[in-house]
């Protein structure tokens, strides 16, 4: 066995790392330290990726050392270790963790420490996966670019002047920049899948209820879902099996086992499968290079034995509008708890009586950013007496229509396919002053949240006009997450065969922004 240097080590997939750890060819401390060095090298400074809001060095190394000690001792305890034990992971800072701050990307929670762990964090700890730190996001996960973070934007590793997607731009950029092999994200309208698309990584939104939401700071409870972020389809399947399963702490949690995901990713096969192109989710409004890569994926799937059919979902034209009524309505309710009393910041009014109402008003004015305020106001409006039926009520009916469209589509196709996002990564600042243009990024991802079905985004290549990653989205009926991993693994292997390796091999090398780092890691292979 040849020794791997750190540059090679951090480019391994989670599955490859797990195999090397199990074979004791490498230790978890070596792996974890290699990632911490990489974070120190590329994440900080004015031109750094800024994927991380907090780096959890001490605890991550302690967990790694514990795994190494168990493996070295051998015996029953070593046998009982989880397959991913010792493989490090980054966590979106919307998910609460004991021992690390949780900010949700908001000033209102600056410095706050949760007194409890999210269920998914408990599961990572049980699997003994070292947590590298907490990743950047749009404030309370509201945005498609990570520019709405109160702590500054994350940069796209493919082009530092561009957005990494959002809201989970930190998790996607960390994985794309080889700062972590895996990450957790949350997806309310595309916040796992769209960052995956624009950074050339894999992101999965499981079926609603497949992964417990307990400990994910709620944005829109009927839409939110925690899910995996990775560099390969198999890695996402491995991670979903770690974090999934029924949780009595989340009353929307499903009791289905979701335990065939890894097997599905390993035995990918599309022969005889019907794959449906959604007429409404490509073509007009989609960048030419996105469309080209999308059509290329269709040809590859056809070549592998799948039958491509076209389906129509006529009510998807209302999906974005209905989403921007339902989501803000739930936001206005969920964010009422940030009142300057129980947790987070308290700001006193400059003058006048110090009543609780005025303290709340001053606290929320100072603690929330513009996008959060817009959505709270919009939601308060949609729920107001006199407007409720026309707005919130109508939007809930549209939700039924979208579900019916999906039911009809899945009667004709096993899996649906579309581009994940209409464009490649845009420039930082480009859409910041135009909320509506920003919302349009999620046009292809929102329907899955409205219907609660699973959606997987995987890299589909680079757009010809700008050389930036394009994402391909696969959708399956509720509870059929395994089907996405099965098809996703096939498409991934066909594409990598065509490219001659993973797409991220073509990402530019990142320049070290921090002088004097001890690491020798150079980054990409270009």
């Amino acid at each position: 066995m040849t020794e791997l240097n750190n540059t090679e080590l951090i480019r391994l997939s989670a599955a490859q790392l797990a195999a090397k750890l199990a074979a004791r060819e490498v230790t978890s401390v070596e792996v974890t330290q290699a990632y911490l060095d990489r974070i120190a090298l590329v994440d900080g400074g004015a031109d750094g990726i800024h994927a991380f809001l907090h780096v959890n060095t001490e605890e991550a190394l302690a967990v790694a050392a514990e795994v190494d000690a168990i493996r070295a001792a051998g015996g029953a305890e070593a046998e009982a270790l989880h397959e991913l034990a010792g493989v490090p992971i980054a966590v979106k800072d919307l998910i609460v963790t004991i021992g690390q701050p949780t900010t949700a990307g908001s000033k209102i929670l600056e410095g706050w420490h949760s007194p409890y762990d999210a269920t998914v964090i408990k599961k990572l700890r049980a699997a003994k996966m070292p947590i590298l730190g907490k990743t950047n996001l749009d404030e309370f996960a509201m945005g498609s670019s990570t520019e709405h973070s109160a702590y500054g934007p994350t940069r796209n590793p493919w082009d530092l002047d561009r957005i990494p997607g959002g809201s989970g731009g930190g998790s996607a950029a960390a994985v794309a920049a080889f700062e972590a092999p895996l990450a957790l994200g949350t997806d309310t309208g595309g916040s796992i899948r769209q960052p995956g698309a624009v950074t050339g990584t894999v992101g999965m939104k499981p079926t609603y209820g497949a992964v417990s939401r307990y400990g994910a700071i709620a944005m829109a409870s009927s839409l939110d879902q925690i899910g995996p972020v990775s560099r390969t389809v198999l890695d996402s399947a491995l991670l979903q099996e770690v974090i999934g399963g029924h949780d009595p702490f989340d009353s929307t949690s499903l009791t289905d086992p979701f335990d065939t995901l890894v097997a599905a990713a390993k035995t990918g096969n599309v022969t005889g499968m019907k794959i449906g192109i959604i007429k409404e989710l490509h073509g007009e409004g989609y960048q030419a290079g996105v469309e080209t890569r999308f059509n290329e994926s269709l040809e590859l799937l056809k070549g592998a034995g799948a039958e491509i059919v076209e389906v129509s979902c006529p009510n998807f034209k209302y999906a974005l509008g209905a989403y921007y009524l339902i989501m803000p309505s739930e936001v206005s309710s969920n964010l009422a708890k940030f009142d300057g009393v129980r947790y987070g910041m308290r700001v006193l009014p400059k003058d006048g009586p110090m009543t609780i109402e005025r303290v709340m008003g001053a606290t929320r004015a100072a603690g929330f950013g513009d996008e959060v305020k817009r959505r709270i106001i919009l939601g308060t409006y949609a729920l107001s007496a006199g407007y409720y039926d026309a707005y919130y009520g109508s939007a809930q009916k549209v939700r039924t229509l979208i579900q019916r469209d999906f039911d009809a589509a899945f009667a004709q196709a096993d899996v649906l396919i579309s581009p994940t996002a209409p464009t490649t990564a845009f420039k930082l600042g480009e859409k910041l002053d135009d909320p509506l243009a920003m919302y349009l990024n999620d046009v292809a991802t929102i329907p899955a949240n409205m219907a609660g079905i699973p959606g997987l985004s995987l890299p589909g290549g680079l757009a010809d006009e700008d050389g930036l990653p394009v994402g391909i989205q696969l959708l399956a009926p509720a509870r059929e997450d395994a089907r996405l991993y099965r098809v996703g693994a096939v498409l991934e292997s066909l594409l990598e065969e065509k490219w001659g390796g993973p797409l991220l091999d073509r990402a530019p090398a990142l320049q070290a922004p921090v002088l004097g780092s001890s690491s020798t890691i150079a980054g990409g292979s270009n």
């Binding site: 209905a322 009586p353 817009r374």
Partner: protein
């Protein structure tokens, strides 16, 4: 459906307990008017016969045993509070003094 104006935004901001400056109200009213206009087609999409969906995957009657489960100690519950007093959250005056 009515358009949203600056007075509406000021009223909604009061309801939502968010203090807003005059400049912020002007800007927010303009932005929200565009957003509200873009979502108005939603009210024409579905007829009266279409039922509303509040949750994507319906689960009914999710119960648990009526036993004490996980609870926080007062210290844990107060650990993130901006102010506390003798094991309780300390709150500014609830009533205006007039």
């Amino acid at each position: 459906m009515a358009a949203i104006n600056r007075d509406d935004v000021a009223h909604l901001a009061r309801l939502a307990h968010i203090e807003m400056s005059a400049e912020e109200l002007d800007r927010m009213a303009g932005e929200l008017a565009v957003i509200v206009d873009s979502v108005k087609s939603v009210s024409e999409a579905a007829g009266d016969d279409v039922p509303a969906t509040s949750h994507p995957i319906p689960l009914n009657n999710v119960f648990r045993e009526d036993v004490v489960g996980h609870t926080f100690t007062a210290e844990q519950a107060l650990s993130g509070a901006p102010d506390s007093f003798e094991g309780r959250f300390k709150v500014p005056a609830i009533l205006d003094e007039d």
